[in-house]
Structure formats: C-alpha cells, structure tokens
C-alpha cells in the first residue's frame, strides 16, 4: 500500500472482516498468484480465495496477474492436501495496541494449537481472467500455455 500511495494512487486499507462491506464499491479485483495449476485452480497467499469468493458473489470481476513460468502441471482441488506451515508465533504474537496478545501462552495449553497456513487454493469458478505476459487467458487454458511453452 505504501508503494501505491507513493505513486499517487488513492488507497483505503481494510481488514478482511470488512470485505463484504466494501465489496459493493469495488469494480474490479486484482490478485497475485504463486502458481497456476493445470486444473484451473490458483495457489496463492492465504486469504486470496476468500477475497475471490466474496467478489464473485457480488459479481465483481476477479483478475489474477501471473507470469507464465508459474504455470505448473500439478493438479490440486483443496488447500489442505498440500500446503506449508508458517511460524505459529506470527499469529500468536500479533497485536494492534501495546497490550499482551491473548494467545501468548498457547504452548502451555494442551488442547490448543495455532495453525498458520501459508497458501490457499482459489477455484476456477471465482476467477474471471488471468493476465500473463503472453496475453489474457481464462484459467482453464493453463494446460494450453504449458503445451505451447514445452513445444518451443
């Protein structure tokens, strides 16, 4: 957001909880991706599929910007079967004011676990278009891109 403001673009910062409130003011959603899978799903930073879900329920176009080297021929249908775990301390110590976080002593509580997933998967139903350096493609065309790239 700092970089956008430095370039003179007016920005508003919202928490994910406020998504459904602001979505009716939004005309387009731009998201980044870590990988485009061969079945049209997009793997990206956790929270992306949430944004895409809310946007598609408000009929707002969702555009992913992604280079073609991120297309891979793996297939995955949910975020759990393959993911990465981040550091749980990032979640446990996060606080907005100077007070102690409520999760500070989580390791001492046996029944409590803190899960910090890094990636999530966005299904193709929520994706309007993927913008790559070779052009705009629908997300179902990832196998075509892979075929063209490997044939060259």
């Amino acid at each position: 957001m700092r970089r956008l403001v430095q370039h003179g673009i007016p920005c508003s910062y919202v928490l994910l909880n406020a998504l459904s409130y602001v979505m009716k003011e939004v005309s387009k959603v731009f998201l980044g991706a870590h990988a485009l899978l061969a079945n049209g799903y997009v793997m990206s930073r956790v929270g992306t599929s949430l944004v895409a879900l809310v946007a598609s329920s408000y009929n707002v176009p969702v555009l992913f910007c992604c280079e073609t080297y991120k297309c891979c021929d793996r297939v995955q249908t949910d975020s759990f079967v393959f993911n990465e775990l981040g550091d749980p301390e990032d979640l446990a110590s996060a606080q907005s004011n100077g007070a102690c976080s409520k999760l500070e002593g989580w390791r001492d509580i046996q029944q409590l676990n803190v899960l910090n997933l890094v990636y999530d998967l966005t299904p193709p139903d929520f994706i309007t278009m993927v913008i790559t350096e070779v052009g705009m493609i629908p997300c179902s065309s990832v196998p075509v891109v892979l075929r063209v790239i490997h044939s060259v």
Partner: protein, 307 residues
C-alpha cells in the same frame, strides 16, 4: 491466376464494394463479403513491397469497420484473413511472386470460409433430436443452415423465434423457416421466460466469439441464456471460426462500444445497444467449423490460430 485490373482500388472504394456484394447476395456472410473486398483490394493494389501492401490492407480493414454491418464479424474475419495469408514464407526476391502467393492463400482461405456453414450443419445435426422444440434468437443464417440440414435428415422440429426488436428480424427468420417446411412461431422478446418450460434446447448464432468462450450477439441473447440456465436447458452457440475475436470483456459494459453502437462514441443511457455479451458459463457448447467445442476450448483454438 488472377487478372490485374487496370485501375487501382482506393481505400474509400472498399465500403461501397463491400455493400454492393452484400446487396447482390443476401445469403453471403458479412465476414465473407469483407474478405472478398480485401481480395479485390489486394488484386487491384499498386504497392511494390509486402510491407506497403500489408499496411494498405490494414487501412482498407479500418474503412470496412466503419460500415454498420455486423462490425464484430467483419473485424475478426479481416484480422484472421490477414494473419492467414501472411503466415507463410514471403522471402521470394520478386514482389510479384510474393503477391501471387498471398492471393493464392487468400483464395484458399475464402474457399474454406465459404464452406464453414455447411460443415457446421453436419456437425450440429446429431445434437438435435427428432421432435425437439427449439428456441432461437433473431435472424441467423448459420442457425438456418443447421435447421435446414436437420430437416433434410428427417428430424421434425418445432421452432420458436424471438421477435427481436428493434429491427424485428425474427419475422424474416420465421418466413425463411416456413419456406423450408419447418413450423416456426414468433414470440415476444419478453415471452422467453414464459416459453422456456416447453423448450428442449436453445440455439443462437454469434457476431463474435471472444477469448473467454463467451459470445457477442444481438441484444437479448444474454437474457435468453440466463433464463435457459435457470430452467436447466442446454444452450448451443453456432459460429464460424472466422468470428473468433481477440477480446476479453469482463462484463456487459466492457464489451467494446464499436460493436454495441453504430457510432462508437461513449454513450449515456439514451442510446440502445445493438449487441450484448453472453459469458461462457451460460453456454453449453459451441458449434464451429473447426469442431464442436466447449467454451474453455475456444481459448485453445484462438491460441492455435494466432500463434
């Protein structure tokens, strides 16, 4: 071998020639007439290099897109024609040999394009069951060819056509169908929801097929597709492959203004758009002369055509 006409064709003569072709043969597709105009232009052109010829052709293409005939298919047809004829080794030292090659490839493209409608007829007939009730939108010559082919295969269908304001071309379609012996009834555009429960399948032509697999067609198409989806009826779009466009509208207002309005200035809501955009999620299959495609395969075909 082509005959070299004595007088050079100017850019401004392109549109009158194009319109005279269409008036002469009302069955001819607008894109085919545009390609024939470009062939004539190429034959009567006085350029001495391939680059100059290509740039003259592009100028003629821009002129053709200013006429009000079905701008989307003229644009795509011309673009694909230009790509096809130049997609060959043009490194001959003599320019006349190059031009001869371009003209030959042009003739080949024109031949393939002219046979497109017949091919679509043969591919689409298995999807129409005997005794089916079909809903179609406005006037489409490709759909007419397909329905006539079905009638020849002894499939007795009943057809409902939307009246399709503002030009009421549904009545013309009804007349053509009745002349072919197919019972056809005109319904109001607003009666599409009412009639949908009696329909077995919905079919429409397309003025343009976009990269997402959606189509640009006469206004009212999107409405019909939405109602068909709500009623679980299959929706088939019928289009020749020269209608594939390199565009990707995200919603109705993103569809280019030059297709929607005859005067391509940005409009307020006082002008009525002529076409709308039907997203791929509402279309079951597309019948094209390349093959019967799902909407997601259109992007694959476009990549093959353009790369």
């Amino acid at each position: 071998p082509h005959t070299i006409s004595p007088e050079v064709m100017q850019r401004t003569e392109a549109v009158p020639f194009f319109e005279s072709l269409l008036q002469g043969d009302p069955e001819m597709s607008t894109a085919i007439a545009a390609i024939q105009t470009l062939m004539e232009f190429m034959n009567r052109n006085s350029a001495e290099t391939v680059a100059e010829l290509t740039s003259d052709l592009k100028g003629a293409m821009t002129e053709l897109q200013t006429s009000d005939q079905s701008v989307a298919s003229v644009a795509s047809g011309c673009e694909l024609f230009l790509r096809f004829i130049t997609l060959t080794a043009l490194d001959k030292p003599d320019f006349n040999e190059c031009k001869q090659l371009l003209v030959e490839r042009g003739q080949l493209y024109l031949q393939k394009a002219a046979q497109a409608r017949q091919k679509i007829g043969k591919l689409g007939v298995p999807f129409i069951r005997d005794g089916a009730t079909i809903l179609i939108h406005s006037r489409s010559r490709v759909v007419l060819t397909l329905l006539k082919e079905a009638a020849c295969c002894n499939k007795h269908c009943t057809v409902f056509v939307t009246e399709s304001l503002p030009d009421r071309s549904g009545y013309i379609m009804q007349k053509s169908l009745q002349e072919a012996g197919i019972p056809a009834y005109v319904i109001l555009d607003s009666a599409v929801g009412y009639i949908m429960e009696r329909i077995d399948l919905v079919m429409f032509g397309a003025e343009g097929v976009v990269e997402s697999g959606g189509i640009i067609n006469k206004i009212g198409t999107y409405q019909m597709a939405v109602v068909a989806k709500a009623a679980n009826k299959p929706v088939y779009a019928v289009a020749e492959s020269f209608k594939f466009l390199r565009q990707y509208p995200l919603n109705q207002f993103e569809a280019p203004n030059k297709h929607k309005y005859t005067n391509p200035q940005p409009s307020d809501f006082s002008r009525h758009p002529l076409v709308d955009y039907t997203p791929p999620s509402y279309i079951s299959l597309l019948f094209t002369d390349l093959a019967v495609l799902t909407p997601s395969a259109v992007s694959d075909e476009l990549i093959k055509l353009y790369c």
